[in-house]
């Protein structure tokens, strides 16, 4: 490190006269109640983790209620209604409000530190996601206060969940609350994709990325594609409940199985979305305790990517007993077994790593061994369930309850508790207790097996799931009693972990720098977390920089040489890299603390609550208010055009106009989500067409002229935006507004003869058209904002990043318009008749 890098403010252009705040001041977290405005990934990550932990404890308490009810036959501890609410909320909280958010919390906290970034690339989006998660979770949970807790199971099968069979608000609490909370997942997905691809330390090519980055990258893509089917399903179901659109009603040409397809199109990837981050944490922690790099990194990466793809082809194995044709059964059965191979590769890579050296049996390692033991067993019963005849016996019996808890507790909770022991020193600067950790592990491990191993037998002896009570003497009595006692032992283990987690804050041993001797970059700074990441971002030349570059641990952390030292411009900045090579190509300006995400979250929350309360005017007003907040959010000055000296990596542009810039990558990620939402709707249309072949009569009601006009306008829009992406032009913006509105209006107009209430297909087509029209509206609003900014004189000629992003967005919108027009015109063309 040279003195020059410290003293010289690397500025080009006029040197500003006023004193800039120091690096520590720029990155300081606001104090007191203003901390709510913090958008730092450390704060947001910890919010996710702590909130997720609270939901975990609540959901775990509900599980104990379930087990207590089942301890003896014909028990009356809970009545059937309460029991149904309790098991529904147990599943819902665990899956939606604990597992995914807490793993996202770890990812948001750890990724920038591991990758060499100063923050997530869209901190406000992350903060907004957290508020959505918190408010959505509170809405779901508050249903208990109104005695309207959802009681239809976490899978909410229709028609049981329709208005006819579930009156009142219970299902609405679930649909609205969970969908709201899911906003956090999809925003996190976009953020994680862009952060991993665009903000890695100089030199960190994809092949030098810590393995956790790969796991999270695949997970984020899976969330982007996997969550939309459920979001669409929930919206359709809520629309059926409130407006009466008959998507799932067989009397109107709908099909209850459509819900199951949409649900499991989400639900199966969901399992891997929960497993992969946890496995990524294992693959990060285990090498630390062996003091050797992960064995066969390339194999593991290939396995994780493969798993991501395969996971989308397995959903129907949750539906083997719904009467699928034999050919589908065989295909899905074979496909389901194939996932064993990437899983096996990962397991053997971990086993291989253990053979590289002498492993230390610290508490995190103990939990990793527990993970391997339990998860391998759960995986094997999973393969058994892929065998159709066996599935017909085991499905919806306690065998499946056993299997899924082996996979989820083994595959996620054990690694998670291990991760708490491993990374807590980073959160708080203090170590958790080895002694209490061992107690927690052995109680959890033994309690787990007593509870769930026996359930395999209970299930094969014929006990179905989700029954509030059972008659005595059928062979289930003793097994259930033991399972319940085991669950108390498991809970005692969790309790000890929680006590340790709270205790360590005050009496834990202070952790030094890199207390486990790990090799990844998050341990660069001493354990008492300073609240900011890198005074200068070091060049990374290997996957375990702290092992391979001893200089990093020799010097004081803040003196280490690197790019972008300090905050010479008084702004939060980080290095933007090329997605593949990791070479720096821009400086990314990051936002400072702001209340905007909180206000946006509150706006959506008010809209959701008003929707539940039936106050549709309030809901509409809140939606408009939220839109205004988003517009204010978007109305920020652009920094494109500035260039600064980053130090070792030379002069770099700020927020470069490039296809590989973080905003464009994020647009692509967002379009992936939009594409998946649209594909889910098209799936619904085609599915209903298949079960109800009078498709042409319903679709044929659409006006082909207007539909074709919408397609032509859509194509024109795409061409206009593509041609105009290199220039800032107010007229082009205005033209975009007009064409977008015209395309949306033409598409809506083409549907005026279709009665959405008359048939499931009509309803689904209408919703799909409205969905596409909404995207035309978004494009119009976006163009209007762009034009207004230019009129306000805020945009200089080289600031064409919005144009670039809009061009990509317009292409997808145009494609959706064309596909929609084809669907609507096809009956006229005689193609589908």
């Amino acid at each position: 490190m040279t003195d020059a890098t410290i003293t010289e403010p690397h500025e080009q252009g006029p040197i500003l006269e006023e004193r800039h705040p120091t690096y520590e001041e720029v990155w300081a977290t606001p104090k007191g109640w203003r901390k709510l405005s913090s958008v730092s990934h450390r704060v947001v990550g910890k919010r996710f983790i702590v909130t997720g932990l609270i939901f975990f404890l609540i959901a775990g308490f509900l599980a104990l209620l379930v087990r207590t009810q089942l301890i003896v036959p014909n028990n009356t501890f809970l009545d059937a209604e309460t029991y149904n609410q309790v098991f529904t909320m147990h599943g819902t909280l665990m899956m939606f409000l604990f597992a995914i958010p807490i793993l996202e919390g770890f990812a948001v906290y750890l990724l920038p530190l591991m990758l060499g970034a100063r923050d997530m690339v869209f901190p406000r989006l992350g903060a907004f996601g957290y508020w959505c998660y918190l408010f959505g979770g509170i809405i779901v949970l508050s249903s208990f206060l109104f005695d309207a807790a959802p009681d239809g199971g976490w899978f909410m099968y229709t028609p049981l969940s329709t208005r006819e069979y579930t009156e009142g608000l219970s299902a609405d609490f679930w649909l609205i609350g969970v969908t709201f909370a899911e906003i956090a997942s999809v925003t996190a997905a976009v953020e994680i994709i862009a952060t991993i691809l665009c903000t890695r330390a100089p030199g960190m090519s994809l092949t030098k990325m810590p393995i956790f980055g790969w796991y999270m990258l695949v997970t984020a893509f899976m969330i982007a594609i996997g969550f939309p089917p459920l979001i669409i399903g929930s919206l359709l179901l809520e629309a059926e409940r409130v407006i009466g659109l008959p998507f799932f009603d067989p009397a109107m040409g709908g099909d209850p199985l459509l819900w199951q397809h949409l649900f499991w199109l989400f639900g199966h990837p969901e399992v891997y979305i929960i497993f992969l981050p946890a496995a990524g944490m294992v693959a990060t922690m285990l090498p630390t305790f062996v003091r050797q790099p992960l064995f066969s990194y390339g194999f593991v990466v290939a396995a994780v990517v493969t798993m991501g793809f395969i996971s989308f082809g397995l959903w129907a194995h949750h539906m083997f007993s719904t009467g699928l044709p034999t050919i589908s059964l065989s295909l899905f059965s074979a496909a389901s077994t194939v996932v064993t191979i990437p899983t096996g590769v990962q397991i053997f890579a971990l086993i291989g790593t253990l053979a590289l050296g002498r492993a230390q049996l610290k508490v995190p390692m103990l939990f990793i061994l527990g993970f391997l033991f339990i998860f391998v067993m759960g995986g094997l019963t999973g393969v058994m369930l892929a065998a159709v005849p066996f599935n017909w016996q085991a499905h919806d019996s306690y065998f499946v309850v056993a299997h899924l808890h082996y996979v989820l507790i083994g595959g996620m909770v054990f690694p998670l508790i291990g991760a708490f022991y491993y990374w807590t020193p980073h959160f708080t600067g203090r170590m958790m207790s080895e002694r209490l950790g061992k107690w927690a592990f052995w109680l959890m491990f033994s309690g787990f097996h007593i509870t769930f191993f026996l359930m395999h037998i209970t299930g094969l002896r014929g006990m179905p799931r989700r029954i509030a009570t059972y008659p005595e003497g059928l062979g289930w009595d003793r097994l259930n009693m033991l399972s319940t006692l085991g669950s108390y032992i498991f809970a005692a283990g969790i309790l000890i972990f929680m006590l340790d987690f709270i205790r360590h804050r005050w009496t834990g041993t202070p952790a030094g720098r890199d207390p486990w001797g790990a090799g990844t970059l998050e341990w660069l700074y001493p354990a008492v977390a300073p609240g900011h990441n890198f005074h200068a971002i070091p060049r990374v030349t290997s996957r375990e920089p702290l092992w391979d570059d001893p200089r990093l641990l020799e010097a004081e952390a803040h003196e280490i040489d690197g790019s972008l030292r300090g905050a010479p411009r008084g702004r939060r900045e980080t290095i933007g890299c090329h997605p593949v090579t990791g070479e720096p190509h821009q400086i990314i300006r990051l936002p400072h603390p702001t209340f905007i995400p909180l206000w946006a979250g509150v706006g959506v929350a008010v809209a959701a609550v008003a929707l539940l309360a039936g106050a549709y005017l309030v809901a509409a007003a809140a939606a408009v208010a939220t839109l205004v907040i988003f517009c204010i959010w978007a109305w920020e000055p652009s920094f494109t055009g500035e260039t600064h000296n980053s130090g070792p990596d030379g002069v770099l542009p700020v927020n470069a106009v490039s296809r590989v810039s973080h905003t464009h990558v994020a647009i692509v990620g967002t379009l992936l989500i939009i594409g998946s939402l649209f594909a889910s709707l098209c799936f619904a249309v085609l599915y209903l067409w298949n079960v109800w072949p009078s498709f042409t009569t319903t679709a044929g009601l659409a006006d082909p002229i207007f539909a074709a006009a919408a397609a032509v306008l859509g194509l024109g829009l795409a061409v206009l935006c593509e041609l105009g992406k290199a220039r800032t032009n107010v007229l082009a913006d205005m033209l975009c507004v007009l064409i977008s509105l015209g395309a949306g209006a033409a598409l809506l107009w083409s549907m005026q003869a279709t009665d959405p209430l008359a048939s499931a297909l009509g309803a689904t087509l209408t919703v799909t058209v409205v969905f596409v029209a909404i995207h035309c509206g978004i494009l119009a609003l976006w163009s209007a904002i762009m034009g207004a900014r230019k009129l306000a004189g805020q945009v200089s000629a080289e600031q064409t990043l919005p144009e670039l992003n809009r061009a990509t967005y317009a292409k997808v919108t145009g494609a959706m318009l064309v596909i929609m027009a084809l669907l609507l015109c096809a009956p006229q063309l005689g193609v589908l008749s």
Partner: protein, 312 residues
């Protein structure tokens, strides 16, 4: 001729491990093979883990090819072939099967014998001929249910708007218990049924006998019971052949007294339980579509319960 003791409290009457039908037997063989293979694989992986734990001299890439790719792939091929052959064997031979329609309702089962010829209804108890294939045509009139007799065969969902077929062959005489396996609402745990496997001759005699009109009440007390049944409006939902035709919303009661259990496989059938059921159905089975007839007087309840118990 038929053991009238219900399956309630009978260990193993609802167990996939006590197979008494073709599907369950074949599946049990598959289950055993899967568990033995699974246990061996589990022990091998844990063995490899323990060995690697103590080894410090490095790993080899072929471990991953072997343990992660080759061995799983080989095992999967065997599994897929075995499971497909089992599936084919279970599905074979349903061409000349006897057809029985079963409709799921919250929370009971409507059974129709001979639906393609001269249909005749019964409920919550299903007779099967020993050794002969029977095809169930399964559907639901409200929410999704799942039809599962673990001892005889795997399960099949009952979905409104669809008809799923499930062919089974019972290979053991006796009584078995089935239960709804898809969560269907408040009293989902109280939706079970009895399965009675009899000889083919007895089966045909049973169906023929089912067509006969219910026995006329032959004592004053029973006639009073019938009058209570008629006056209280029970016939709006419940049919009794020869007495009250047309009610389809509740189980057919023409031979209710002959069933071994009451309330869809949940309580032993006797006069006391019948009276309690009629007076307190919402207490015994919350969410059922039948209201509690707690306005009936004690003597009325006794009479109607006796009358129903006499319908055999």
């Amino acid at each position: 001729m038929i053991d009238e003791e219900s399956t309630l409290g009978q260990f193993g009457s609802q167990s996939a491990l006590d197979a008494a039908g073709l599907g369950a037997e074949l599946t049990l063989t598959l289950t055993t093979a899967l568990h033995v293979a699974g246990a061996l694989i589990f022990l091998s992986v844990m063995g490899a883990l323990a060995w690697a734990w103590f080894r410090t001299t490095g790993a080899r890439t072929w471990w991953i090819w072997a343990g992660g790719v080759a061995i799983p792939a080989g095992a999967l091929v065997i599994l897929v072939v075995g499971s497909t052959l089992t599936l084919a064997a279970i599905r074979a031979g349903g061409e000349n099967a006897t057809i029985i329609d079963v409709r799921g309702y919250q929370f009971w089962w409507d059974v129709t014998y001979d639906p393609t010829g001269d249909p005749v209804r019964d409920g919550n108890e299903i007779f099967l001929p020993l050794g002969e294939p029977v095809t169930f045509r399964l559907t639901s009139e409200d929410v999704i249910h799942s039809f599962w007799i673990p001892s005889i065969s795997g399960k099949m969902d009952m979905i409104p708007g669809r008809v799923n077929e499930l062919t089974v062959t019972a290979n053991e005489l006796g009584r078995f218990r089935g239960q709804c396996a898809e969560f269907c609402g408040l009293s989902h745990p109280l939706m079970a049924f009895e399965v009675v496997v009899v000889t083919p001759e007895e089966f045909r005699a049973f169906v023929a006998d089912l067509r006969n009109e219910a026995r006329d009440p032959d004592t004053i007390a029973l006639r009073q019971g019938r009058d209570v049944f008629m006056n209280a409006g029970c016939a709006a939902c419940h049919a009794i052949r020869g007495e009250a035709e047309g009610g389809v919303l509740g189980p057919d009661l023409s031979r209710v007294g002959a069933r071994a259990s009451l309330g869809a496989g949940m309580w032993p059938m006797n006069v006391g339980n019948l009276a309690g059921w009629i007076a307190d159905v919402q207490d015994m089975k919350p969410g059922a579509n039948m209201p509690s007839y707690n306005h009936l007087t004690g003597p009325e309840l006794r009479a109607v319960a006796h009358y129903l118990d006499s319908l055999k």
